[in-house]
């Protein structure tokens, strides 16, 4: 199944992916196509999670809402949280990891292309596994955090929580596999001359994120194993009657949970750090400071987890330690905000849609950051925890932060992915509607939160001062539906009829803009050399020479004597059989045995087959 040669694309209309039949997508190991697959799937789940949010807002529009029952509401808000965190924002970042990292560091592909395909397929099947139950009203209903004793078999006897526990284990495997892949890629496949301090900022932030993933996911894997054993094999990790302490779950979950929220935000920081310099026509201000603050956020991220647990009574020493470490981690985040502002200062700004979204992140994330620092102090948090104030906080940092950054990234890198520009007018409509709707939806939650409206309630009595705020939030949510549909329309329309973009429509400075759009399968005709942080802006003549060669279109791998890895279906089979093996826990053990056997056979056949044709 050698890869077929790529037909010569005319420089006017960018070529579609050459053999874009279904089989070529199922067997692809090309990091760019896997990135596009991640993008499509995660946008679908983002809209799916958004629909869940709209139903929640419709139910809470007025007091004593009757739209959905208590059980259905609990499944909706649990799946809204789980879908948005694990199936939308992380994979949206993964889409950019996959697509951008090799291009930014001047590599032909990731270190382990087949492992990369495996992570995508595990994510897809895991996403389906955890999303389908809601159609049968069997979705997880324990909250995205799934605190025990509620989620133990005694208090959640149904199959709902089993879907959640197994679903998260599967998605954990996908993230971990991708993380090892990207750590090795970033360390080992940088172009000649690209030292660590010359890497683009997005790759740096991804580097920190991958370390967060490999260190945080094992902890939740163990927490989930304990819950799985408690639910299926009657062990007593969280059974109070046997002397166990349910706080063990909270601690293990949040040891993963807080690094997780940095996993969600740092890629958006990276994308903004690519967009702002490009449209300010200025290098990023204080590059080394941005790198070290990213690393500091990563490392400190493991020391702050218990600020989610100020109200469980850990005692003054623990509370004050975690309050201090939480305040401490605010500093590197603040440093980043100032560096972005300094990047824009005295820059010749061009407000394209991507730039608008990037500035939107700087503004809204700062609001979210400030409201976050407020409940870093335990006495304030005792009043705010589990109220809508916290809901407002994390929607400002997640929607105002991650999603804004990811939208900036989509508008910025759409030309490189599909060869066409997204429509700027629609883009501006999308931005302004999104900006207004976001504030309309989430700002009133600060007030209903401070007035004591608890989180996760499916209904509330009138006359407690919450009615108007909830009404405004719901109206804002409906506006978000409008703005997101403008984006979806713009996305699919521009793929076919967007204005054709050359290799560097924004005149950006980093390596990914030195190759044609959409990027050829082999990425770089010749390995680029790098002597500065912005090779296309400040590169020496050697860099310019390699950039010139790489800009030529229509070369086939054979002509350039480049060997590409075989496309193979094996990662998909291993991923599929692994997920079905997990399903065996819900059905009969025989199912697990059968698919475990298939998985091992497929795994051996994958490991023993050569990665690419022997180099003659």
């Amino acid at each position: 199944m050698a890869t077929t040669a790529m037909p010569v694309g005319s420089s006017t209309a960018p070529h579609e992916y050459e053999n874009s039949g279904l089989w070529s997508w199922l067997t692809t190991v090309d990091h760019k196509r896997i990135g596009v697959l991640y993008l499509y799937t995660s946008l679908f789940f983002f809209i799916w999670g958004g629909m869940e949010a709209v139903i929640i807002r419709a139910q809470l529009q007025g007091p004593n809402g009757q739209l959905v029952s208590a059980e259905m509401y609990n499944q909706l808000f649990t799946m809204h949280g789980t879908t948005m965190v694990f199936l939308a924002i992380m994979p949206l970042s993964a889409a950019f990891f996959n697509f951008l990292i090799p291009l930014q560091i001047g590599a032909r592909d990731v270190a382990f292309p087949r492992l990369n395909a495996f992570s995508y397929w595990v994510y897809l099947f895991g996403g389906i596994f955890i999303t389908v139950p809601i159609l049968f009203q069997l979705a997880p209903n324990g909250g995205w955090f799934g605190y025990t004793p509620l989620t133990t078999r005694a208090y959640s006897p149904g199959i709902n929580i089993d879907f959640w526990v197994i679903g998260l284990q599967i998605l954990g495997v996908s993230s971990l596999a991708a993380a090892f892949n990207f750590i090795t890629t970033i360390i080992n496949l940088r172009a000649p001359g690209m030292t660590l301090m010359r890497m683009p900022m997005f790759t740096w932030m991804s580097f920190v994120v991958q370390f967060l993933v490999i260190l945080a996911f094992p902890v939740i894997t163990i927490a989930l194993v304990f819950l799985l054993f408690d639910r299926f094999f009657g062990t007593n990790f969280y059974t109070v009657a046997q002397g166990a302490d349910p706080l063990l779950w909270q601690h293990l979950f949040w040891i993963f949970g807080h690094p997780e929220v940095y996993i969600l935000i740092l890629p958006a920081f990276g994308l903004v750090s690519e967009v702002l310099p490009t449209f300010s026509r200025k290098p990023l201000f204080g590059y080394p400071v941005m790198v070290y603050s990213g690393i500091l956020i990563g490392v400190l991220g493991f020391g702050v987890w218990a600020h989610h647990m100020f109200s469980v009574g850990m005692g003054p020493i623990a509370d004050s330690f975690f309050a201090l470490s939480t305040l401490l981690i605010g500093i590197p985040t603040g440093v980043k905000i100032f560096n972005w502002i300094a990047t824009m200062a005295q820059g010749s700004l061009r407000f394209t849609t991507a730039m608008l979204f990037a500035v939107g992140l700087v503004a809204l994330f700062t609001i979210g950051g400030i409201s976050g620092v407020m409940h870093a102090s335990p006495p304030a948090d005792l009043q705010q925890t589990d109220t809508y104030f916290v809901v407002a906080h994390f929607h400002y940092v997640l929607f105002g932060g991650s999603i804004m950054g990811i939208f900036a990234g989509i508008y910025h890198y759409f030309p490189k992915m599909f060869g066409r520009l997204m429509n700027e007018r629609l883009g501006k409509w999308h931005f302004w509607l999104n900006f207004i709707a976001m504030n309309l939806t989430f700002f009133p939650m600060h007030f209903s939160g401070m007035l004591g409206m608890p989180r996760r309630i499916y209904t509330y009595d009138g006359g407690q001062g919450w009615d108007t705020f909830n009404f405004i939030s719901s109206m804002g949510a409906y506006m978000l539906v409008v703005s997101t549909s403008i984006f979806v329309f713009n996305f699919f329309r521009s793929k076919k009829r967007g204005e054709v973009a050359g290799s560097n429509p924004w005149e950006a400075g980093t390596l990914e803009w030195s190759i044609p759009s959409p990027a050829p399968e082999y990425n770089f005709a010749v390995l680029p050399t790098v002597s500065s942080r912005y090779p296309l802006w400040e590169g020496n003549e050697h860099d310019a020479e390699s950039a010139r060669i790489n800009a030529q279109e229509g070369k086939t791998p054979a002509q350039l004597n480049i060997v590409l890895p075989y496309s193979t279906i094996k990662p998909l089979i291993v991923a599929g059989s692994m997920v079905l093996m997990f399903c065996g826990l819900l059905t009969t053990i025989a199912v697990t045995m059968i698919f475990a056997a298939i998985m091992v056979v497929a795994l051996y056949s994958w490991l023993l087959s050569p990665l690419e044709p022997e180099h003659h």
Partner: protein
Amino acid sequence: MANEPVHSDPAATTPHAAAHEHHHPTWQTYVKVGAVLTAITVAEVWAYYIPSLVASRIFVPMLLIMSAVKFITVVMFYMHLKYDHKLFRVLFTGPLFIAALTLLALMFLFGQLAAKLGR
């Protein structure tokens, strides 16, 4: 730290520099290391069988030190951390450092640290 940038990155070495020198220790060294590990294990178990020592305050720290020595010996000699590229040291000690801190924090939070030290 886990992801400290590697300063000694060979910036513009030829694409495939001669792989760093491969002078792995001889098998005699390995056997000696094996003997040392066995000796420490025997010492640990022997200490376990002395009631006065077990009751004394230094029993736990002593065992922890011996176990740490074995840990470092295996990691340095058998896993070649001593001879291989500095990058691997960062890749291993970073996570180990965070893991150790998490362990201590958890034991403190569940009151076991005081119990252990108070013994």
